[in-house]
């Protein structure tokens, strides 16, 4: 494993859209930090273009979107924007409350998993860890293998 792969995972924990309740996302950020990851934590109300800029600059591996009401409805648009920016290797999970009948659209748009509010700490951490490995090894852009 190269030095680059031995680094901690870099995870963005964010909220897009209109909802401002951030208690849950802060708890998840703490879980991931305690598991050794570097968490870039934003306040609510991030725009999609702001997220794309942040993900680019911070070389993020995984995005965790916290959505309690309806903000998940614009996640597919975020996935599109990430693809357009050449960031499709960045995996996305959604945590919070998503009506059952709207989950399919998220998964179809490329979201890796949707966690409900009762998800256990270990479950989240283990999944993010394995997803992070996928994200790094699945990178096929022009800079994926610069390192010997």
């Amino acid at each position: 494993m190269t030095n680059v792969d031995a680094r901690p995972l870099r995870v963005l924990v964010t909220k897009i859209g209109l909802d401002g309740h951030d208690r849950g996302s802060r708890i998840v950020a703490a879980y991931l930090r305690d598991a050794g990851m570097e968490v870039i934590y934003t306040p609510p109300w991030q725009t999609i273009s702001g997220v794309v800029k942040l993900v680019t600059e911070e070389d993020v591996d995984i995005i965790g979107v916290s959505s309690l009401a309806t903000d998940h409805l614009i996640v597919p648009k975020m996935m599109d924007a990430l693809r357009e920016a050449g960031l499709e290797h960045v995996r996305v999970i959604v945590g919070g409350i998503v009506p059952d009948e709207e989950k399919g659209a998220l998964l179809a748009a490329g979201v890796s998993r949707i966690f409900g509010p009762g998800a256990a700490r270990d479950e989240i951490v283990d999944f993010v860890t394995s997803l992070g490995r996928q994200s790094r090894s699945g990178r096929i852009d022009e800079f994926s293998e610069v390192i010997p």
Binding site: E38, T47, F143
Partner: protein, 332 residues
């Protein structure tokens, strides 16, 4: 993409970095954070193109309003159409190695501005080597064409001093009433400060803090130059333009000054690398003449400084007999 050779990818990264592509900047920073031979290689490749950007470091105790001040400082720079990069260093947990990197969120104004590149950096417990990484990251941002690079770290302890030393201009931010004003000035911070800021200058105790700082400065040697003390109210923007003026005044103005600064930077980098290298050697040595020398220090026959001078000498590794001689001579 995977059809490219590693060498070609490397060249492409450099090319895109020089063109200011944020994706290339991010990837290059990742390599520098990871350290090792790849980082050293990339750093070497960057050297000829460095020296243009101005690096400004901000540090100070928590609660001083540093992030708010940086946010306003960056806004001021953008008003003058300078491009900016911010490297925000946050402490990583010594236990888990993880971190919540939360400085970026305090720069809410700049989340959509491509003229402000922001990267959050966890200290990852390598307090010894962090400043080398930071220097490498500064060089990446420099080569990418950013006019001003802001380095942000919290606290005023030894590790923060080392990080902010990487900057050409060091701004130490204080605020009145943060408990022990003097405490914030210990740990060598005052020695390296180029500018002192008293933020939240609208508070009643601000005048006293300014006086305290000025009197501490007056105790410094004349040769260390004049350190301006600037009052700001970051939340309203008051004093920020003055701060920027003070920073620009201290920046190298002529090509000669720029070269001199660059030389100083390189010298410091080599010194730090040398110190790390010597340290590594000494910690790993176990041969007999070496152990003998250590016993001599324990017995009071050889001073620690004397031993250090010998161990750091270029020939101390090669010829044990010669080394023995040197030790005996020192003793006499």
């Amino acid at each position: 993409m995977t059809g490219m050779t590693k060498r070609a990818m490397h060249a492409l990264l450099l090319q895109r970095l020089r063109a200011g592509d944020p994706k290339a900047m991010a990837r290059a920073i990742t390599i520098m954070e990871a350290g090792g031979p790849a980082a050293a290689d990339l750093h070497r490749a960057l050297q000829p193109s460095t020296g243009r950007a101005l690096a400004v470091g901000f540090t100070g105790p928590p609660g001083a309003g540093k992030s708010t001040l940086i946010d306003a400082f960056v806004a001021e720079l953008r008003k003058r159409e300078r491009t900016v990069a911010v490297a925000a260093v946050d402490p990583s947990s010594p236990l888990s190695g993880g971190a919540v990197l939360g400085d970026r969120i305090r720069m809410g104004r700049h989340t959509e501005d491509p003229g402000v590149f922001i990267r959050s950096i966890g200290s990852r417990g390598h307090l010894g080597g962090l400043n080398a990484s930071i220097q490498h990251i500064v060089d990446v941002l420099d080569v990418a064409g950013r006019d001003v690079i802001v380095i942000e770290t919290v606290g005023a302890g030894q590790s923060e001093v080392e990080i902010v030393e990487v900057a050409d201009i060091r701004v130490v931010v204080n605020a009145p009433g943060l408990g022990d004003d003097v405490q914030a000035i210990k740990a060598g911070i005052l020695e390296i400060a180029s500018i002192l800021v008293v933020n939240k200058a609208d508070l009643p105790l601000a005048a006293r803090t300014v006086r305290q700082l000025r009197s501490m400065l007056s105790l410094r040697r004349e040769s260390e130059g004049n350190v301006p003390v600037i009052e700001t109210v970051a939340s309203s923007g008051r004093g920020v333009a003055e701060l920027l003026e003070a920073v620009l005044n201290l920046a190298p103005q002529t090509p000669e000054e720029r070269l001199a600064r660059r030389r100083a930077r390189v010298r410091r980098l080599v010194a730090e690398a040398a110190a790390a290298e010597v340290r590594r050697r000494i910690m790993e040595r176990n041969d007999e003449p070496f152990q003998v020398a250590l016993s001599r220090v324990e017995a009071g026959q050889l001073s620690v400084e004397g031993a250090a001078r010998v161990f750091a000498a270029p020939d101390s590794d090669h010829d044990p007999a010669q080394f023995q001689q040197t030790i005996i001579r020192k003793r006499q």
